[in-house]
């Protein structure tokens, strides 16, 4: 009797195992989690990164696109020609591209999309990307001519952003709730607060994705994120919110952990219009009072690369300038005394919600206290930060990660919230904007980085890391975040 029972159980187990492995082989759907839910689904109408994480490259495509390594590749434009003066771009569009509603994509859609983004009443969060465009002209259904006001070495890069994706005039009013693009995945449904579902676009112009169905879920609580991964409910968690748990996943054969980098330069911004931060010696003292390693270890559990200027370390033109502001509290104290603050001073440190700011802020406050700077910490919400710090410039110090790719140009804007104003830097940027020769651009970028480091404009802390936790069988995920994206077109399950 017992023997029979055991045999029956063994058969049942084997059957179950076969069923499970069979299911694994056929697996073509994926559940992906990100921290925040997109507020709406129109990448051309809001700044939220979550919108691009769900839709960029999956549902929407632009004329050009970011590759996983951050380089720019042809998107809906198959090729382009640039006139010698750098002022006219002629784009050849791909043939046979259709929107998900069945309408065809052609040059008129390109003109519509770009004109809409740069119009006077445009609600595009990155309108500055299109500022150099003077005119968009349709030459034939598959050819578009862009005329610029002045040469712009960044045009192809700008057109790759999520804010520059191609949309159709017919669907533009309802993009926020029903996105219609040209991508390899079609939008299926959005259960607000819970999930967004995408499915393979059978009519896609390019290589069809391996996945038939993708579900995005939104989990911001670090404990819940950990539990959801451990319980097996989520296949991929991009931007995992609990770096303290990464070693646990690394040690577990069921999972893989990818730690990539982002375009997020995390800085301790200083208000140059507020005393004593107008004095370069004070700024240098603060930069030297900061122990970057302690912050990365303490606030980010060791993930993140130290930076010495406002530039992403994985970029080919990056210059390592961390040696300009080494950790040296004694020297920092001396500098403060030279600047007329032998006993230090008091200031405010406003911290937005992300943990890099809240946890990093506590550590920085302690480090600054060591050189006599008394920091009063104020925790603020994002909306408050934007109002008080970014717009109102009412702060002494703040910590924030600047996640826009290649955003060194913000230092050329006098009214930007740290209110840095350097004619020298602005001159370099002006040259850069006109330069199209790669070697010249690279030299200028290096020069710009060095100026920022030598002016000790802000405390440059670290490049924000991008941790992804995934089940062991998932292949083709992006390691880095050259732009906010979770490109699923190349993702598949190992057999």
């Amino acid at each position: 009797m017992l023997k029979n029972l055991l045999a029956a159980m063994a058969i049942a187990c084997a059957g179950a195992a076969a069923f499970v492995s069979g299911a694994a082989q056929a697996k073509s759907d994926i559940t992906v989690a990100i921290q925040l839910e997109p507020p709406n689904l129109d990448p051309t109408g809001a700044a939220a990164q979550a919108i691009d994480q769900v839709l960029y490259a999956n549902v929407f495509e632009g004329l050009t696109r970011f590759r996983a390594d951050g380089s720019i590749a042809p998107g809906l434009a198959e090729s382009w020609e640039i006139t010698d003066d750098g002022k006219v771009y002629v784009f050849k569009l791909r043939k046979g591209v259709t929107f998900h509603d069945g309408s065809s994509f052609d040059a008129a859609d390109v003109k519509f999309s770009l004109d809409r983004a740069r119009a006077a009443d445009s609600k595009n969060a990155q309108k500055a990307l299109f500022a150099s465009i003077a005119d968009v002209a349709v030459i034939d259904p598959l050819t578009v001519k862009l005329t610029l006001k002045a040469p712009n070495g960044r045009l192809l890069f700008n057109l790759a952003w999520g804010d520059a994706v191609m949309v159709a005039p017919e669907s533009v009013k309802t993009l926020a709730t029903k996105p219609i693009g040209t991508g390899a995945f079609k939008f299926v449904k959005w259960v607000k607060g819970d999930r967004i579902e995408l499915e393979r676009n059978a009519a896609y112009w390019g290589e069809k994705p391996a996945l038939a169905k993708a579900t995005f879920r939104f989990i911001s609580d670090p404990t819940a994120a950990f539990a959801a991964m451990m319980a097996g409910d989520i296949d991929v968690f991009a931007g995992f919110p609990a770096p303290e748990n990464l070693p646990l996943f690394k040690a577990d054969a069921r999972f893989q952990v990818l730690v990539g980098s982002t375009e997020g330069e995390t800085i301790l911004a200083m208000n140059h219009k507020r005393k004593p931060f107008d004095d370069v010696r004070v700024r240098k003292a603060i930069s030297m009072a900061i122990d970057r390693k302690a912050i990365i270890d303490g606030a980010m559990f060791g993930v993140g690369a130290p930076i010495g200027t406002h530039f992403a370390p994985h970029h080919p033109d990056y210059v390592d300038l961390t040696a300009k502001s080494p950790y040296d509290p004694a020297a920092a104290k001396k500098l403060l005394a030279e600047a007329g603050y032998p006993k230090g001073f008091k200031t405010t440190l406003k911290l937005p919600p992300p943990s890099y700011a809240r946890r990093g802020g506590e550590i920085i406050a302690a480090q600054l206290r060591a050189i006599g700077v008394e920091v009063e910490i104020a925790n603020v919400e994002w909306a408050q930060w934007l109002e008080e710090v970014f717009r109102g410039k009412n702060y002494g110090l703040t910590i924030v990660s600047h996640t826009e790719p290649m955003d060194i140009g913000i230092y050329a804007r006098d009214d930007y919230y740290f209110q840095y104003s350097s004619p020298k830097f602005k001159a370099v940027m002006a040259k850069l904007n006109l330069a199209t020769d790669p070697a010249a651009r690279s030299a200028l970028l290096k020069q710009a980085q060095t100026i920022l480091a030598e002016d000790y404009v802000n405390g440059f802390l670290f490049e924000l890391a991008w941790p992804t936790v995934a089940k062991a069988g998932v292949k083709g995920l992006w390691l880095n975040q050259p732009t906010a994206a979770l490109d699923l077109t190349g993702v598949s399950w190992a057999k």
Binding site: N40, A46, A47, K192, G193, S220, A224, A231, E387, F390
Partner: protein, 315 residues
Amino acid sequence: MIRYLLGRLASLIISLIVASLVIFFVIEIIPGDPAAYMLGVGAQPDTLAALRAELGLDVSKPERYLRWVSGMLQGDFGISYTYRSPVSEMILERMWVSLPLALYALILSTLIAFPAGIYAASRRGKTGDFAVMGLSQLGVAIPNFWFAMLLVLAFAINLRLFASGGFPGWDKGFWVGMHALTLPAISLALPQAAILARIMRSALIDMLGEDFVRTARAKGLSRAQALRRHALRNALIPVLTIIGLQFSFLLAGAIVIEKVFYLPGLGRLIFQSISSRDLIVVESTVMLLVFVVIMVNFAVDIAYAAIDPRLRRRR
């Protein structure tokens, strides 16, 4: 009875008007501009102005208040700034999670608390009483989010009997939905049950000291019979009050539990909308919750009258 009801109704309407004023103006003075939040740090001034105009943020506050209230009276709760969809639709979607969850938790807590409270009262001063009271002390003391994490650890990660969170939707079937709400409902219900059991017990014990119970005993009823037939009905008034309060709490106060189980409930909607300064969503949702709470209290008042004939006669 009619006068009693009219009195309650008048206070209900005044409460609603005051609540709408407080909600609107308190939320409007929070620093932060919804348009700036949506467009982020790359936004240009003209883009911000265009968006503010589209969202209707460029008119004066009193005018916006009047528009909001008159809209609500016609059943129009406005359009969310960030989600760009009607607020009423969003609330309704979330209600399909929050309302069943609150009811589920309330039923669970009542099912636990009633027998536990009655048992403890009937065994007053004996081991059974101490055991129930000890457990309820524990139930009150344990934070529900921590209990929730324990449940996830045990039932989702180790035993794999439940999902760690999320809500598949009622379209996948009633039992699938109930299954997904079970762990959240248990973690919400436990502290509520503990409180309710204590209230039930002390209310019953108070009643057991009353003359009418002694009379009932004198007429030959056993202690248990007297408790069930005479004391219980009278002890229900304080218990009902607590149930009413608990229901209101469960409906909106499940924010933490909704976060732990990443459920698309009302609490999280409000939480997210506050941080993204989606003021219209916050205002309308909070107003609706206030309305529900006031209605529940109104219903409880009526229930008092139903249970206690003196209330009916006196007024």
